[in-house]
């Protein structure tokens, strides 16, 4: 139980919330310091962070790997864009995107309660491969290979926003991050944590594994769907080529690298998955992929529990030393 308690304590420090609020300043800094194109990458990375946050529930609490993050992203993006195209208001279209993601996630939890480990990871990867072809096949709805524009709604133009867009996305991420923190503090969180830290024992106490799985996958799908809604609004144009299985790999990698149980880690992971590839595009030839691979390998090698928790740990280690120095 102490492991569970420790895990919970690490999660719910109020400082995390303060930090999230501080993050709200980041878009301004990015936009002012780097110009609007950095702002675009930043917004995209933050939208990806929601997918990573959802993935964290699977990696961090179910101990499974979700390699279908890109599929959830696509479902949310297309569902909301199609809803907008049918004249629904923005808020409703957004909700439809989230709901579509949640439904797919919940459906996925049914096989996920039976299949585990590698089998499950690669089965989800199957969804990620199939996603672009599903989009191509559902031509009547999605525009197929031609792609579709995310329609404008309520005077909010899609794909054109600057700083305001970035702020909206960051704001939504902060709100979702807080919601996730609050939810994890409540009954659902207790369920997840006991399941994660003491699975067999939890089952002994009547925690239903399928319920936990459905909760986590549903939430992951919902966050992925929301991430897709925002993605659609930032990019402004959807086409199957955008949702290759590499997107799913990057989202997975983002949650592993940021720290699978850390909310700020999810944000770092999202930036890594969504923004860094955009920013590296300046490096010619294969250099961008090479750099990304090297960064990734270095983070895995150096930060054994994820980037953000590792930085925290580093900070904690440095502190006593500094104190001693001050005492002397």
């Amino acid at each position: 139980m102490s492991a569970t308690a420790a895990a919970r304590r690490r999660l719910f420090t109020s400082r995390t919330a303060v930090l999230l609020a501080a993050l709200a300043l980041a878009p301004l800094a990015a936009e002012l310091g780097g110009g609007p194109y950095i702002g675009y990458a930043f917004a995209l990375g933050t939208a990806f962070a929601l997918s990573v946050l959802g993935n964290n529930l699977i990696v961090g609490y179910l101990g499974e790997a979700n390699l279908a993050g890109g599929a959830f992203l696509a479902v949310g993006a297309y569902a909301s864009a199609i809803a907008l195209a049918h004249g629904l208001p923005l808020w409703l279209a957004g909700l439809i995107g989230i709901a579509a993601g949640a439904v797919i996630g919940a459906l996925l939890s049914i096989p996920a309660a039976r299949v585990h480990g590698h089998q499950l990871a690669l089965a989800t990867l199957g969804l990620a491969w199939a996603a672009p072809d599903v989009i191509r096949y559902a031509e009547a709805w999605t525009g197929g290979s031609d792609g579709m524009y995310v329609p404008t709604s309520g005077g909010i133009p899609a794909g054109l926003g600057g700083l305001a867009d970035t702020y909206v996305v960051t704001g939504i991420f902060v709100v979702c991050a807080l919601l996730v923190l609050v939810a994890l503090r409540g009954r659902a969180g207790r369920l997840l944590l006991t399941h994660a830290e003491a699975g067999p024992a939890a089952r002994g106490f009547g925690v239903r594994a399928w319920a936990v799985a459905m909760l986590a996958w549903g939430a992951c799908g919902a966050l992925g769907g929301l991430s897709g809604v925002l993605y659609g609004h930032i990019v402004g144009y959807l086409s199957p080529d955008e949702f290759t299985f590499q997107v799913s790999l990057f989202i997975f990698v983002g949650s592993m690298v940021g720290g699978a149980r850390s909310v700020p880690g999810a944000w770092i992971g999202g930036l890594l998955a969504g923004a860094v590839p955009q920013l590296l595009s300046d490096i010619p030839g294969g250099g961008s992929i090479l750099t990304f691979g090297v960064v990734l390998a270095a983070v895995v090698a150096l930060a054994r529990i994820g980037l953000y928790p590792s930085l925290e740990l580093l900070g904690a280690r440095l502190r006593p030393a500094r104190k001693e120095a001050a005492d002397e």
Binding site: V59, A65, P111, R114, V115, H116, H118, Q119, A121, L122, A123, L125, G126, L127, W129, A130, P132, D133, V134, R136, Y137, P200, F245, L249, F252, V253, M256, V257, G285, G286, G287, S288, I289, L290, T291, F292, G293, V294, L296, A297, V300, A301, R304
Partner: protein, 290 residues
């Protein structure tokens, strides 16, 4: 007639996927790692072979170069992943490592050899037999023959040699095997070498079809994974059976339905198999702790 043609072509493609899958199984069985860099390892080997061909080497020499280079690179990858730095890491970390290794290899290829599409010769150009309207190429026969030989050799190795049987035990309990005096590290490296060689072989067969460029071997990973998931992660025989099934399915769907449906069908096949048998067609059922 068309159906027969689809079946034959499917079996040939399936043989290639089976060889790929066998490589993934060998690594998984000994180290527990899913290797996302499997295709990229093959690609590097093929670029070495391409270089050899350009220097005037005959095909046989180039083939040996491809296999040897893939095996060596795979061994290097295995050594890094198995090194002390990553010894006590959860397996998900190791998977991320293979993903980054794949990206690094793709990037290096891009920087060193560039991104242009290159042709790679087939094992036997031309030459054709027609049996009742179904065309069979010499290279098809070679692919299937090599596949049969590879799987026979794997069977003999894992079932009849001491090294092979100890390798099978590795993933189940590395510590116990170590205590029994089995050289765990050496066996794991051997597994990576073997898998790399298999990747090289599969690559030699795929390259003439897809042409050679840094990303063209991704297909090995996509279909290879489908094969091992459906076949069962521990089972070499499962890889063979599902390799052929996936190959035929892929061809049948693309000819009789639509090429847009191929990956959807492969993913659906995987999910259906898992729904019926969660450990794959020929995977073992996990021991349930009570």
């Amino acid at each position: 007639m068309l159906a027969a043609q689809v079946l034959i072509t499917g079996i040939v493609m399936g043989a290639i996927y089976a060889i790929t899958g066998a490589g993934l199984v060998v690594i998984y069985r000994t180290t527990g790692v899913i290797n996302f860099a499997h295709g990229d390892v093959a690609a590097v080997g093929l670029f070495c072979a391409y270089g050899a061909l350009r220097l005037g080497a005959p095909y046989a020499v180039a083939a040996v170069v491809a296999i040897a280079a893939s095996a060596a690179l795979s061994a290097l990858l295995g050594t890094v992943i198995g090194s002390r730095l990553f010894r006590r890491r959860p397996v998900l970390d190791l998977i991320v490592l293979t993903i980054s290794a794949g990206l690094i290899l793709q990037g290096l290829e891009g920087v060193v050899v560039g991104q242009s599409v290159r042709t790679f010769p087939a094992v036997a150009e031309g030459g054709l037999t027609r049996i009742g309207g179904v065309s069979i190429r010499v290279s098809d026969v070679v692919v299937v023959a090599v596949c049969v030989v590879v799987f026979l050799a794997l069977y003999l190795f894992f079932d009849r040699t001491r090294t092979g049987t100890s390798m099978r035990a590795l993933n189940e309990n590395a510590e116990a095997t170590r205590l029994l005096g089995v050289p765990v590290t050496r066996l794991r490296t051997l597994a990576w070498v073997l898998a790399g060689a298999l990747a090289g072989v599969a690559g030699l067969f795929v390259a003439p079809i897809y042409s050679l460029q840094p990303t063209s071997m991704e297909v090995l990973v996509v279909y290879g994974f489908a094969v091992v998931v459906a076949g069962g992660f521990e089972s070499v025989v499962g890889a063979l059976v599902c390799g052929v099934l996936v190959g035929v399915l892929q061809n049948a769907v693309s000819v009789f339905a639509s090429s847009k449906l191929v990956l959807i069908a492969v993913a659906a096949f995987m999910l259906v198999v898992l729904a019926i048998r969660p450990t794959g067609l020929l995977g073992r059922r996990p021991v349930v702790r009570v």
